[in-house]
Amino acid sequence: MTFQVQYLFLIPLLPLIAAAMIAVTRQPHKRFAATMGIGAMVISLTLSCAAFAKTLHRSSSAANFHEVHNFNWFTFGETTLQLGWVLDPLTAIMLVMVTFVSLLIFIYSIGYMAHDENFTRFFCFLSLFAAAMLGLIIANNLLLLFMCWELVGLASYLLIGFWYQKPSAAAAAKKAFITTRIGDVVFFLGILWLYSQSGTLLFYADGKGCLENLQQAEWAARTTIGGMAITTGIGLLIFCGAIGKSGQVPLHVWLPDAMEGPTPVSALIHAATMVAAGVFLVARVYPLMSANGGEVAGWGPGIHISALTVVTWVGAITAVFAACIAVAQTDIKRILAYSTVSQLGFMMMGLGVGGVAVGMFHLIAHAFFKALLFLGAGSVIHGCHEEQDIRRMGGLKKFMPVTFATYAIGMMALSGVPILFSGFWSKDAILHAAHDWPVSKIPFYLGVSGALLTAFYMTRQMCYVFFGNNRADSHHATKPHESPRVMTLPLTILAVFAVMLGFIGTPAWPWFQSYLNGGQPLFNFAELWQGEVRSILLLSTVIVAVGIGLGWWFYGRKPITSPDAEDVLERLRPDIYELFRNKFYIDELYEATVIRFFVWWAQLCDSMDYWVWNGAVLAVSYLILALAWVNRLIDEYAVNLGFDEGCKGVAEGGKLFSRLQNGRVQSYLRVIGVALTVLILVLIWGCRPS
């Protein structure tokens, strides 16, 4: 084992130590906190790059390269639970991405949070998040992954609720934690099931891990309810965790609300890294997800259904669903949030139809340009005095040139503007794979519509924010201003990557795909002109052109003049616009059904406690009291009464007889006389001859 693997644990450990040290630092020591956090990230980044270099130098023949280090955590019975970490291309690329993006966002936060009184606490939570996220990435055990998974959830909770005085932030934090926990609980069941079936939760352990040799594993061949393979069942349960964390329908509701947190948090956690953890999870347990689930009747012969089928559908639906909502939002961060949900849907779809490389390519590319967009949005908000409503912005192009330029690059990358921008290539790969998906063509069409909507809403946002006239309230004395260098520098770096990253995974030179899957990438321009590749590339180009064109036609052609002006879509189709603006009323639906039911149920449990259980106990106690009372009655009337009457009789008799003893001699003599007479008479009567 090489030192890169040996010391891989340092990558999450260093930020953790930094978090602990910052936690005990007093508030005023801002410089110390920032230095600790950033220093730890720099070292982690260096180590990640070393690990990445290590995976580059593997022998190309090893398709499934990984090196692991496992250790005993504890022993129960005669078995030992082992945890461990793994280095493989998937881990390495994620490590580099997360540490790099984190580092830039840490730097950006120095500027963004400079005046916050809880600056040190912010860096403490950020470092905690980074530690948990990096731990999640290197985990070689599903349990360890789950533990880190919960910890990133905690960090997300703490950071969404960072401005805890705002009730909306506190509520959003709670909502985020609980919504994701719904998925996590099901995920937890999946872990339990997997553990009970395979006997280990290690991913890789010299051929004995739960992801290795699934084809030969006896348990993987078994089936469960409805003829579904056990692997599919477990895969679906695990995927529920990913649905929660990655904001897929129907558990997407927390992610837009999570924008209550400071903008660097939205960029780091709720766009680039944590929400992608769900996608990463599916990629990590891919053998389980793709394990053959058997042919299901009705789908036609030769089409095998696995957990990935569900992943694809959920992803495709989410991609369009969230894009629709994004079209009608007016909060700059919420638009980006719904865009994130939609892009995560694309990633899921990519995993489902095209495999790990397709989904992960979009994940990595998205991480950079979405972080860029969020940080750009943060810069805009900062420059506009905490204004988040795009209707009150406008014309920022001339006030914030650097932000504008970088934001435009991010926007074009997200929309998928051809050739130059990374989003084009990664999205194209997904669409291409969806087109070849044997099960159904619908996800492909959904993906195409999603891409169209993406280009449209991003153009709308650009027009609102950067073009036209400034529509800010006049009470702001100062004009919008460009952000300081410490904020624009990360923007510039991210913008460079938003452009460059696309070239590592084009059909002409699929380096990324072969890095993850093994094999040598071939440099072949001719690939681009081959039949299907070319038509999909052309289609992508047309979609983007149409999306941007429509957006420009609606919003850019005539400058929007007033913040209260009606949206163009609102004018065209008010009903649909209302539906989109209200997010398909999903929140209201949950409020009216799930939440109301739960509250009612909790009340019922409470009343049941009081009336039924407590009532039963009271009934028993009253029964006993009643018995006691009956007892008393019996005592008083049956037992005591008889006894008392008897006593009374004796007393009366005594009284009667006591009259005899009145002490007068004459009465005694009288009695004696009477008695004597009676005695004589009796004797005479008795001695009479018979």
Binding site: L143, Q165, F177, I178, L189, Q603, L604, C605, D606, D609
Partner: protein
């Protein structure tokens, strides 16, 4: 050292303390507090010695002491610890001093209060170490009496009713248990747990009962079931298992903070301990017979109590229900253990996971729940007795350290990985999933609901705009930090390195599971 009666000494320390304190004048408050704490620290030291002297490489009972007491009644003085007893003794020695420190500000009849506390501790030590029913039962009841007076004399406004309900309810269970054991003694002539366990698992007990106690034509097995029901009631009330729980929210809410801490941390564990030490080994067949309904009761305990906790508006009552919920996981584990597995290797492995999980959960809940009540006590002191969910708001602004430390305890309680609560729950679920899949799957809902109401507490009490009424609320003082920080450190330690506890209990667990194979 092997001849030194460590356990007896350990039990006697608080007993002596109780006697010393009860003789003190009511006005010598400071002396009483100091003495009580002193006795506590000595017993903590004793427990630590016990922990160190316990040989974790041996599954047998250790440090045993055995003397005849009343031979004609089968009564022996027989004490000793295995992993289970050891863990509980340690927990007692840790929690009682914390609870005492949390009651430092009691001002009425101080020496009596602490004397009762020490008596309670002696009762707990005795319960967790005694191995003969006669001896054990004395301590079991001994702990009840001071608890009654502690609630009755120092409790909240409705303390009298609460104390009476608590006492009578628990007493009913105890009496049922006593009667059952008398029947057993009549039938087999011994009170020794170990002998009884052997007879129970081999089926001799049922036979003997049928021979000696021919009662309205019941067969031996039916008779054993009746006897089992009596013992079961005693423990089910103590833990408690729904529907035998109604005494608990009232008692927890009315008891003074320190007593609530002991009630939730330790006295509830007496019930689980009883299940593991007495019921499961002696009546495995009976338990197996009614395992399915019991499992559903455990699920009901977990889910209904968590939901009921959400509906509470009084923090103490809310955490009382939360406590029922957490013990529900222990009960789920206990009932699952009754399942017949024979020599099925993998399932027996699952059983060891469950039992390890149950023991860890007992310890972890015994640590976390008292700390939570301790925080509520601190809050009550500051608010003049208010402890409603909606009485506060935004406290994080004025008391960030208070909020941070209580937040850690809350997250430990909701089972966040890295803190102590997670590992016990994970092991229980891990083992019970293959043994009782549907019951486990439903119980997992409890984890979700727990998160909902605990986060609601954090939201309502600590977040949002600061309630102006509390703008001068005091931050956690240094003595208060001194109480909670060591416990918090312990939570972290167990969460990260559970082997520190599991190393001591694992062999006991293996042996207990071994006994349950038949």
């Amino acid at each position: 050292m092997s001849t030194f009666p460590l356990i007896t000494v350990l039990t006697c320390i608080p007993l002596v303390g109780a006697v010393v304190l009860i003789g003190l004048d009511f006005e010598r408050k400071q002396l009483a507090r100091g003495l009580a704490l002193g006795f506590n620290l000595v017993s903590l030291l004793g427990a630590v010695l016990l922990w160190l002297h316990f040989d974790s490489a041996s599954p047998n009972l250790q440090l045993t002491e055995r003397h005849d007491w009343i031979p004609s009644l089968g009564a022996e003085y027989f004490v000793g610890v295995d992993g289970l007893g050891l863990l509980m003794v340690l927990l007692t020695a840790i929690v009682v001093p914390i609870a005492m420190l949390a009651s430092w500000r009691i001002e009425e009849k101080v020496p009596l209060y602490f004397s009762m506390f020490l008596l309670l501790q002696a009762g707990l030590f005795g319960t967790f170490t005694a191995l003969n029913f006669f001896h054990w039962f004395i301590f079991w009841e001994l702990s009840l009496v001071p608890a009654f007076f502690l609630i009755k004399l120092w409790g909240g406004p409705r303390r009298s009713a609460a104390a009476t309900q608590f006492f009578i309810y628990t007493m009913v269970g105890s009496v049922a248990m006593l009667l059952s054991f008398l029947a057993i003694f009549w039938a087999v002539g011994t009170f020794d747990f170990h002998t009884l366990a052997e007879m129970g698992s081999s089926g001799k007990l049922a036979g003997a009962l049928a021979d000696k106690l021919g009662w309205i034509n019941l067969t031996g097995h039916q008779l054993a079931l009746v006897i089992f029901a009596g013992v079961f009631l005693g423990f089910a009330v103590k833990v408690p298992l729904i529907p035998f729980h109604t005494w608990l929210p009232v008692a927890y809410a009315e008891a003074p903070t320190g007593v609530t801490m002991v009630l939730t941390g330790l006295m509830s564990k007496m019930g689980v301990y009883g299940f593991l030490r007495i019921l499961l080994p002696i009546f495995p067949n009976e338990m197996r017979l009614i395992m399915t309904p019991l499992l559903w009761l455990a699920v009901a305990t977990i889910v209904l109590s968590a939901c009921a906790a959400f509906a509470q508006r009084d923090l103490k009552r809310m955490f009382a229900y939360s406590s029922i919920n957490h013990l529900g996981y222990c009960l789920l584990g206990v009932f699952v253990l009754a399942r017949f597995t024979g020599n099925d290797g993998p399932l027996n492995v699952e059983k060891t996971a469950v039992l390890n999980g149950v023991l860890l959960q007992m310890f972890n809940h015994g640590l976390t729940a008292p700390i939570l009540f301790c925080f509520i006590g601190f809050l009550e002191q500051r608010s003049g007795g208010l402890r409603g969910l909606d009485d506060f708001g935004g406290l994080r602004k004025v008391a960030p350290i208070f909020c941070g430390l209580m937040g850690i305890a809350i997250f430990a309680s909701l089972g966040l990985p890295g803190l102590n609560g997670f590992i016990g729950e994970f092991l229980i679920f891990k083992g019970s999933f293959p043994l009782a899949t549907w019951a486990t799957a439903l119980s997992v809902l409890g984890l979700l609901v727990t998160a909902i109401f605990l986060l609601t507490v954090l939201q309502r009490v600590f977040s949002g705009p600061l309630n102006v009424k509390w703008s001068a609320l005091a931050e956690l003082t240094w003595p208060e930090r001194f109480i909670v920080i060591p416990a918090t450190a312990l939570m972290l330690l167990i969460g990260i390195w559970p082997q520190v506890l599991m190393g001591k209990i694992n062999l006991t667990v293996i042996q207990m599971v071994d006994h349950l194979k038949f």
